[in-house]
């Protein structure tokens, strides 16, 4: 008896030791901007998950295991809260539906892993459906009123006219054409290389090798050739073209004009944009902009101007160098 109590106590203390400082640290960090919102959410989630596991263990050790039929909805609710509330910024409904679908299936699987747990889960339901007692009858009536009611409500909700913009399956990175024609020159997008990717020895700088220039200051007097190109690219970004008005000072897509666009400008600092693309792909997008998106880029929702009309080919290549340098990403290469 004493042993079990000790264990419970131990588990509780562990829970407090683990969860409280973690939450406090994350909370403090989140509030003061010490860590970003993403990490904050992640820490909270891990904390909650650990807390839930410990709590479940404690309750079980105390001799009050939760029946599977109760565990299942609790688990479901925890998943829902995690994905709907804690995970910030909010994920789109389509993703939420997918995640919850997986969770629902897996919770059902969890309840039916062994014959014992399946019986524990299904017996009360079977009893409710079959038993002749008053309670069972009442719950049957209630269920068969509530269920159609819910369905009716859902139907009503679906039929209601909605005023939001429709869902869009926008192809963010459409397949590029094989080659483009810019400034009277044909550029083969499969093979084109950035001509300003130059190392100290004046030769082509292999992708990945530029990491030695990351984090430095390109705007001091005497810098290697690569950083000179970065500097010139930066002049295009902030001067000639004024990319920063939309794409932001930090290249995070939060420039002063960004709020006016829908969809908002590309966030280069995100690992899902330029970090996933070849330099030639970026060249195509800068040179041709929204008007020359390929067919599959439906509905061609892009306010990007065709910059070939205002910038020279070298300027475009340089600004691309600058974008990769500034964000610290490497362009995609094959082989």
């Amino acid at each position: 008896m004493i042993k079990i109590r000790n264990k419970t106590l131990f588990a509780q203390i562990m829970a407090i030791i683990l969860a409280v400082p973690m939450l406090a640290w994350a909370g403090g960090g989140g509030a003061t901007g010490f860590i970003d919102a993403g990490t904050f959410a992640l820490v909270i989630e891990v904390g909650l998950a650990l807390g839930a596991i410990i709590l479940a263990t404690v309750v079980k050790k105390m001799g009050m295991p939760l029946p599977k039929l109760v565990q299942a909805p609790i688990l479901w609710a925890v998943c829902y809260i995690a994905f709907r509330v804690i995970l910030q910024p909010p994920i789109p409904f389509s993703l939420l539906a997918m995640y919850m679908g997986v969770c629902t299936v897996c919770i059902l699987l969890y309840c039916s892993l062994t014959t014992e747990s399946w019986e524990e889960f299904s017996n009360p339901i079977a009893k409710m459906l079959r038993a002749n007692s008053g309670g069972a009858k009442m719950s049957r009536y209630a269920t068969f009123v509530i269920l159609p009611g819910l369905i009716a409500f859902q139907t009503y909700d679906m039929m209601l006219p909605k005023f939001g913009e429709p869902i869009e399956l926008r192809t963010v990175h459409p397949a590029p054409p094989a080659s483009i024609n810019t400034h009277k020159k044909v550029i083969n997008l499969q093979t084109a290389e950035n001509p300003f990717r130059i190392g100290d020895d004046g030769n082509y700088l292999k992708v990945g090798d530029e990491s030695k220039y990351f984090g430095g200051n390109a705007w001091t007097g005497d810098v290697p050739v690569f950083l000179q190109k970065v500097q010139e690219g930066g002049q295009v970004f902030f001067g000639t073209a004024g990319c920063f008005f939309c794409h932001g000072d930090n290249l995070d897509g939060l420039g002063p004009f960004s709020f006016a666009f829908n969809p908002i400008p590309a966030n280069f600092a995100d690992s899902g944009t330029i970090a996933q693309l070849q330099e030639s792909f970026v060249f195509w997008r800068v040179a041709k902009g929204g008007p020359d998106l390929s067919r599959e880029a439906f509905p061609w929702a892009s306010a990007m101007p065709p910059w070939e009309k205002h910038l020279t080919t070298p300027e475009i290549w340089k600004v691309i160098i600058f974008e990769y340098w500034h964000t610290g990403f490497f362009p995609r290469t094959w082989g």
Partner: protein, 642 residues
């Protein structure tokens, strides 16, 4: 004496027959080369002595030029070069005809491969324990029985497919036939060989059966031949498909350049063939497992239940064995596609068709979760497995986390309002799971976990008796934990390096998984030597949920095949033959996802309806006549009275 001589004569005869049949397999290659050279001459005569040379669209360096040996690819015109059935989309009709033929085709190709393995095991076991050997032999025989009915369905569907081609796409099919002319005929001729071998093999089962003697080995030889012909057939049909995706051996105008081998050996042929063979095996195993599950659920007595429980286990084991290398083969195919045309790769993985990959990912995740779930259910009949019940939920948790990361799309479906709320097309947290590093990590984790579950399954019935068992356990735990850590580490490291280096990371990840598979299962098998069973396995007492899981597994296989087939085919966009022959029909557009999903589901439904008929036929064949049943009933009464 004369009996022995007769036996000898028979053996010589059989060997002669077998070697003749074997030589026939070489026929395609012999004839291909003859045809090809013959054609070169013909053109040379036609011209002014010098054949006109064309430049190969794919082969570079030497062999780049070849004599123009056919008419160019036609400029197809609608409606002249296309047939229609009213307003209905011709492409959808062809799609369905193709998919059904492919389903049955891959099923009848896969089953003989299993049967080969089963028969071999049966022969090898026969020496030690004739009863056990016969069990495997009967299993092989029963699998073959299902395959035989499916074989005729395949042939019928093949006929339907050809007629659909001729009726709806005469222009395109004419071009394809002009290129593959010699090979297409060989294909048909090889089918005769395949049928001959198949019938001798199946109907000769009992006649050849002398336990593990020479006749039985000859019978196995027939099966080898059957498989060889089957694989040649499949490779031939695959070359047409891969030619449509990535043509070679023709010039830009579509002229055939005289070398049929170059046309067949086009850039995507090898990876597609490998991927398809593995896929067929998995699929075949899944379908046989579903058959066993069907018979398990409908069994009326304990003996039958036990038999089909066992059969479903064997079949699903085979399915899983080939499922595990399948993602790697797919990965290789994808690499080759990117290598062939970057555009094609982007259209598939990041562009227009990216969402189809999410559907596929859902199916793959379903497959792995179902396999684990089935193994857990199957452990319900194994005494001693209770020791591992506590681990089940953690295995499931790992699978769920991997699935969620595996399913997260790179391109999200959202309303513009949601897009604004999220602050960009990529989510700052979830977005990280949409890229390849996360996917590779997730799938390797899922495979490693499946391997672990399987090892648990294997040892669940035993008390280990080897003296070094504790060391073995420590080693296994370390192996799996560190392999998983390595997979995770490589996955996370992938975010910090350029894409070309990142591609390299997947190889050590895969190697970690394979280490677990091979080293883990070897050590586990060694540890089980002389182990003492805790109780007899209660075959036939698997929960019904396990049988349903097998259905799920098989349906997931079929759905995956449907969706990936659609994907592979539609990546050509508006081309019949990529960059050579343009599709000018009104149906040369990419279907909306919902439509594709519906047609795929329809295909799956149609296939399973036909397959259930085949299953039913098989069980009908096994049903005893009323007279026999009466006799048996009397026999039982007699036995009981003793």
């Amino acid at each position: 004496m004369s009996v022995i001589q007769g036996e000898k004569k028979k053996k010589v005869g059989v060997l002669l027959l077998l070697s003749m049949l074997g030589l026939l397999i070489l026929l395609p290659f012999a004839v291909t080369t003859t045809f090809a050279s013959g054609e070169e001459e013909a053109v040379a005569e036609e011209g002014d002595g010098e054949p006109k040379m064309g430049k190969d669209v794919f082969y570079k360096e030497e062999g780049q030029f070849g004599p123009i040996s056919s008419r160019p690819a036609p400029e197809l015109v609608y409606p002249d070069d296309y047939g229609t059935y009213g307003d209905y989309q011709s492409r959808t009709i062809l799609w369905i005809a193709n998919q059904q033929h492919l389903y049955f085709g891959s099923f009848v190709l896969a089953v003989p491969m299993f049967v080969w393995v089963m028969e071999l095991i049966g022969i090898l076991k026969y020496g030690k324990d004739p009863k056990e050997g016969k069990k495997f032999d009967d299993l092989a025989h029963e699998m073959m029985k299902i395959s035989l009915t499916a074989y005729s369905v395949t042939a019928i569907l093949g006929g339907i497919l050809i007629f659909t081609f001729l009726a709806l796409y005469p222009g395109f099919f004419g071009y394809l036939a002009s290129i593959f002319r010699p090979v297409m005929h060989l294909y048909a001729l090889l089918f005769i060989l395949e049928s001959g071998v198949l019938y001798v093999y199946y109907y000769g089962w009992d006649a050849f059966n002398d336990g593990n003697g020479d006749w039985k080995w000859t019978h196995l030889g027939l099966c080898t031949l059957l498989n060889a012909v089957g694989i040649v057939l499949m490779v031939m049909a695959n070359t047409w498909v891969s030619f449509m995706m990535s043509p070679a051996g023709v010039d830009e105008a579509g002229h055939f350049l005289g070398d049929i081998w170059k046309v067949m050996h086009n850039p995507l042929m090898v990876p597609i063939v490998i991927h398809r063979i593995l896929g067929n095996m998995s699929f075949g195993g899944g379908v046989v497992a579903a058959y066993a599950a069907f018979r398990f659920l409908s069994a009326t007595n304990q003996a039958e239940k036990a038999h089909y429980d066992w059969m479903s286990y064997i079949a699903s084991f085979m399915a899983v064995m080939f499922l595990i290398p399948l993602p790697f083969a797919g990965y290789w195919l994808m690499r080759e596609i990117y290598g062939y045309r970057q555009q094609m790769g982007i259209t598939l993985m990041g562009g227009l068709l990216a969402w189809v990959f999410i559907m596929q990912a859902t199916m793959i995740a379903t497959l792995f979760i179902t396999v684990n779930y089935y193994l857990m259910q199957a452990m319900g009949r194994i005494p001693g497995s209770e020791r591992y019940h506590g681990a089940f939920k953690f295995i499931l948790a790992i699978l769920v986390i991997s699935t969620i990361s595996w399913l997260t799309p790179h391109t999200l479906v959202m309303t513009p309002a949601e897009l604004k709320a999220m602050g960009g097309a990529q989510h700052p947290i979830v977005g990280n799971y949409g890229v390849m590093s996360a996917k590779n990590t997730a799938i390797n984790t899922m495979i490693t976990t499946t391997v672990a579950t399987f090892l648990i399954y294997q040892r669940s019935n035993f008390n280990l008796k080897v003296p070094w068992a504790w060391k073995g356990n420590i080693f296994l735990v370390c192996l799996f934990a560190l392999a998983e850590l390595n997979i995770l580490f490589l996955g996370i490291y992938g975010y910090f390096i350029p894409a070309n280096v990142r591609i390299g990371l997947s190889v050590p990840q895969v190697a970690s998984t394979l280490t677990c598979l091979f080293v883990g299962s070897t050590i586990n098998a060694k540890m089980l030597k002389g182990a003492e069973p805790i109780g007899e396995i209660r075959w036939g007492q698997m929960s019904r949920r396990g049988a349903y899981a097998l259905f799920m597994l098989a349906v997931a296989f079929t759905w995956t095949m449907a969706v990936m087939g659609y994907l592979r085919s539609s990546v050509r966009l508006h081309w019949h033959v990529n960059e050579i022959l343009r599709d000018n029909s009104p149906w040369a557009f990419t279907n909306p996802l919902g439509y594709a999903g519906n047609i795929n589901s329809l295909n799956v439904l149609l296939f399973w309806t036909m397959l259930l008929f085949v299953f039913w036929l098989a069980s009908l064949y096994a049903t005893k006549s009323p007279l026999a049943r009466e006799a048996e009933a009397r026999g039982e009464v007699v036995a009981a009275s003793h």
